[in-house]
Amino acid sequence: MKLRGRVWLFGDSINTDLMYPGFVTTLPEAERPKYCMGANRPGWSEQVREGDILVAGKNFGCGSSRPAAKSLRSLGVSGVLAESINGLFLRNAINFGLPALSLEGVSRMFGEGDIAEVDVGSGYVENVRTGETKVAVPLPQALIHIIASGGLLPLLIKVGYLKG
């Protein structure tokens, strides 16, 4: 599973209240993603494009179980690279089919707008502009399988547990 996309840089502790504020739960599904990062980076949800990659600092996705990963997917984000990723966000990322890798030093490896190439299977990360490379500890195969299937929901539909 390989990604190539334009980089957006975010800081430490980007939490789920920023990505999926409480009030959006009362809005129709289709409107929710546009409020993603509305407090910390107004206008971002309109600038992000299909395939873009989010590069962030420590503890990305801290906070609640709100499906922030789903909003990122809906906005076209193809992957997240962060110094560290909150455990609950990582579970949600896997379950919504969003590749997410923890990699120390990654936030200093990219400037905003750089092009990142990522091999999710091996953990290989490259900044195409500078040529700098780093290798993250890859996710276990079983979890990559869920991501590659488009997340857990299609798998649940396949086994008949869920009707889409």
Partner: protein, 413 residues
């Protein structure tokens, strides 16, 4: 090398003798709890449940419904329960914040493992019961199959020692820890809280600390089950349980010792629980609202402390004080103890149990520019409503003292 509490509970529920950090294990869960808010997400229609008697539907986040969208979600929750014959439904009037409802009904048992999508599920650790927030898709899987997966993590230990100073509460201790070690200290780590001070703490005080372990980004956050836990749980269930202790040679990636005797009341300033400071550094900050409630600090013990401070006095005229008991049971206990009268006489607004203001749902949402001192667990930007509002986290004692003064105030005064 021996196992920590979390490792032993995971091994027991995976049906294996031993697990080690790095392993991915499939575990059976004892119970699955689905809160009302989960029904605001349309992820598809579940076709089966593994055991309707082990699934609980809890109305807590916005209870009762504050608008049509949430009323529809609540209706879906009731339809779901009916469709599968789920009997444990904590509907309006019998409701409360899920973590406390689980405890009151005897579902949090030493050695247990539960599934719930709320991020403060680590609260169960106060009962020696493993829980952590799950995502909504995997909750569907847990309800269909009665199992989920975890990657076994290393365990970090906080040893709490020293005598608690007057008016310092366990909330101050955990805010201090978040400030001193950072909110990412436990990313991909389990936490154990141990030490002589922990034994002195009431169960309610331990619940606050386990609850806030989510703000340290912990996976599981566990305490041992002592007499206080065993007596409480035994009074709530007839089901058998086996407390889990760490093995003598259990491996901890780190142990931090916290001497509470040197801790002042703490306040976490916007916009992170990790921004904690001694109250003396922020005293005098004007406030518009005081919120006492949530799964963190809305239990009887918290309300008693607040009543002690408010009794016979008045909330500052420039401040609105909102008190939200955690569950209907807490509410009834507070009524019986005369606390509700104290609050109303003081000019505080007592609401029905709900997550409510804590996450900006209803009953205490903030406007731009407003400042709120809150006993809840999170002060992220936008958490309680406007993204231009400011939330200060503190103990019930500090919140109550601040309500009287109209500004952040040291409760020892």
């Amino acid at each position: 090398m021996g196992m920590t509490i979390a490792e032993k509970i995971l091994a027991n529920h995976a049906g294996v003798k031993k697990v080690s950090p790095g392993d991915i294990v499939t575990v059976k869960v004892d119970y699955a709890f689905q809160p009302d808010l989960a029904f605001t997400e349309d992820l598809g229609e579940l076709q089966k449940v593994w055991d309707p008697d082990r699934i609980m539907i809890v109305f807590d986040h916005v209870a009762p419904a504050a608008n049509v969208a949430l009323a529809e979600a609540h209706k879906l929750a009731r339809d779901f329960a009916r469709k599968f014959g789920i009997k444990h439904v904590y509907d309006i009037g019998r409701h409360g914040v899920a973590h406390e409802i689980m405890a009151e009904n005897g579902f949090l048992r030493p050695g247990g493992l539960i599934a719930c999508p709320d991020s403060h599920t680590a609260t169960s650790g106060a009962f020696n019961c493993a829980g952590r927030g799950l995502g909504l898709p995997e909750m569907l899987y847990a309800m269909a199959k009665g199992e989920t997966w975890f990657q076994v993590c290393e365990t970090l230990r906080f040893k709490i020692v020293g005598q608690m100073p007057e008016r310092v509460m366990s909330k101050d201790v955990i805010l201090h820890i978040a400030g001193r070690y950072g909110t990412e200290v436990a990313v991909n780590k389990n936490v154990e809280f141990t030490g002589p001070t922990v034994s002195e703490w009431s169960l309610s005080s331990r619940i606050t600390v386990a609850n806030m372990a989510a703000e340290l980004s912990a996976e599981f956050a566990l305490f041992e089950a002592d007499r206080k836990v065993i007596d409480y749980v035994s009074s709530r269930t007839r089901e058998a349980f086996t407390p889990v202790t760490p093995e003598a040679d259990a491996r901890y990636c780190e142990t931090f010792e916290i001497d509470v005797s040197k801790i002042e009341p703490q306040v976490s300033v916007p916009h992170s629980p990790g921004n904690s400071k001694p109250v003396s550094e922020v005293e005098g900050t004007p406030i518009d609202q005081v919120f006492v409630g949530s799964c963190c600090n809305g239990r009887l013990e918290d309300l008693q402390v607040v009543a002690e401070i408010l009794r016979g006095r008045k909330v500052h005229p420039d401040v609105r004080m909102i008190i939200t008991p955690t569950t209907q049971e807490t509410y009834a206990q507070a009524l019986e103890a005369g606390l509700i009268k104290v609050f109303v006489d003081a000019g505080a607004c007592v609401t029905n149990p709900t997550c409510g203001a804590c996450y900006g749902g209803h009953l205490g949402v903030l406007a731009a520019g407003e400042r709120c001192i809150s006993t809840a667990n999170r002060n992220f930007q936008g958490r309680m409503g406007s993204k231009e509002a400011f939330i200060y986290l503190a103990s019930p004692a500090t919140a109550a003292a601040s309500a009287l003064a109209g500004k952040i105030t040291d409760p020892r005064r």
